[in-house]
């Protein structure tokens, strides 16, 4: 069976989904179910003291999904490490999607702080899935530091632009010894299929699903695209050619 294995843990689904930006917790829960995902990301924030809101975790079955806390909002390694440890203290398994984004406009990840935080968190027993720019050299450094995956971006978070970093992601896939999860910027199922056709091990999607007119249908569409892309990769894609190559026989036509 074709499984995704991260830190010795097998997963059937190669689609990870985020839980942000949904209209309601009910919609979120039904959508992650439709996605077939087994890994769902969450964020950590100060509790809202004056508001007894509906707890997100009431809607996520922890036996069914691996809750993957992110460190979104962290601007440097120290803040990210603090968030990861808080998430663990709140009862999460010691897995973390490491995000260090000092610039709120493009939310691009800081490579130096991400590497620093990875080193500390790996020593502290965390399974670290760092969100990175599509930098093959950084991916190697993170791998050596003990990262469980690398998560290169296709385009900045929430932009729906697709894979703008294709050539570098191809190099990362070629060189990686840990799973490569294309994260951020995937705006359509075709983008997810493209990543999988390239040989990515998984993709991570939030915005494209949560802002869709029908989030459940979009989640199912992404799930199918991920499976299609994976199958095409395993089947072996034909090589691109400059010159045409007839699919029909060129001999025996009614001429001469």
């Amino acid at each position: 069976m074709d499984q995704l294995i991260i830190a010795n843990r097998p997963f059937r689904s190669r689609l990870m989904v985020g839980t942000g930006k949904f209209a309601s917790n009910l919609e979120m829960a039904e959508t992650i179910a439709a996605s077939g995902a087994e890994i769902v990301t969450v964020a950590l924030r100060r509790v809202n003291i004056d508001d007894s809101h509906d707890d997100l975790l009431n809607h996520i079955d922890r036996d069914k999904y691996l809750l993957l806390p992110n460190t979104s909002g962290a601007r440097d390694a120290d803040e990210a490490i603090r968030l990861a440890r808080l998430a663990r203290a709140a009862g999460c398994e010691p897995w973390v999607k490491l995000e260090v984004t000092p610039d709120p406009y493009y939310l691009l990840p800081d490579p130096i702080e991400t590497l620093k935080a990875t080193e500390v968190l790996v020593k502290d027993g965390f399974t670290v899935l760092p969100y990175i720019n599509a930098d093959p050299v950084l991916a190697k450094h993170l791998q050596e530091a003990g990262a469980a995956t690398v998560m290169p971006l296709g385009a900045p978070i929430g932009t729906n632009k697709g894979i703008k970093t294709r050539d570098n992601i191809a190099i990362i896939i070629e060189q990686a010894s840990v799973p490569v999860v294309v994260d951020a910027g995937l705006g359509a199922p075709s983008h997810a299929a493209e990543a999988m056709e390239m040989g990515a091990d998984a993709v991570m999607v939030n915005t494209a699903i949560s802002v869709a007119g029908d989030t459940r249908m979009m989640a199912a569409a992404f799930a199918q695209a991920v499976m299609a892309g994976r199958q095409a990769y395993l089947a072996g894609l034909g090589q691109e050619q400059h010159q045409a190559s007839a699919s029909s026989p060129l001999t025996g036509f009614l001429r001469d």
């Binding site: 930006k21 964020a43 924030r45 100060r46 509790v47 975790l57 806390p69 440890r85 991570m204």
Partner: protein, 66 residues
């Protein structure tokens, strides 16, 4: 006595434990993490952690995110 919770001042009784405070705030202790004067506590320590005047608490929980 006065303590600071998530940046906001709050007056509590002198013998308040962290577990009492969470209960008064309607928070499920198994769904939050607490930093007490900069130290992250384990949930098992909430009941035995007594609050003192001027203490600073950060209380966080999970929200949707990508």
């Amino acid at each position: 006595m006065d303590i600071t919770v998530n940046g906001q001042q709050r007056t509590v009784a002198t013998t308040t434990s962290l577990a009492d405070l969470l209960a008064a705030m309607n928070l499920n202790p198994q769904r939050v993490a607490v930093e007490h004067n900069g130290t992250i506590l384990s949930q098992a320590d909430f009941a035995t952690t007594t609050l003192g005047d001027g203490d600073k608490l950060e209380i966080v929980s999970f929200v949707g995110g990508g």
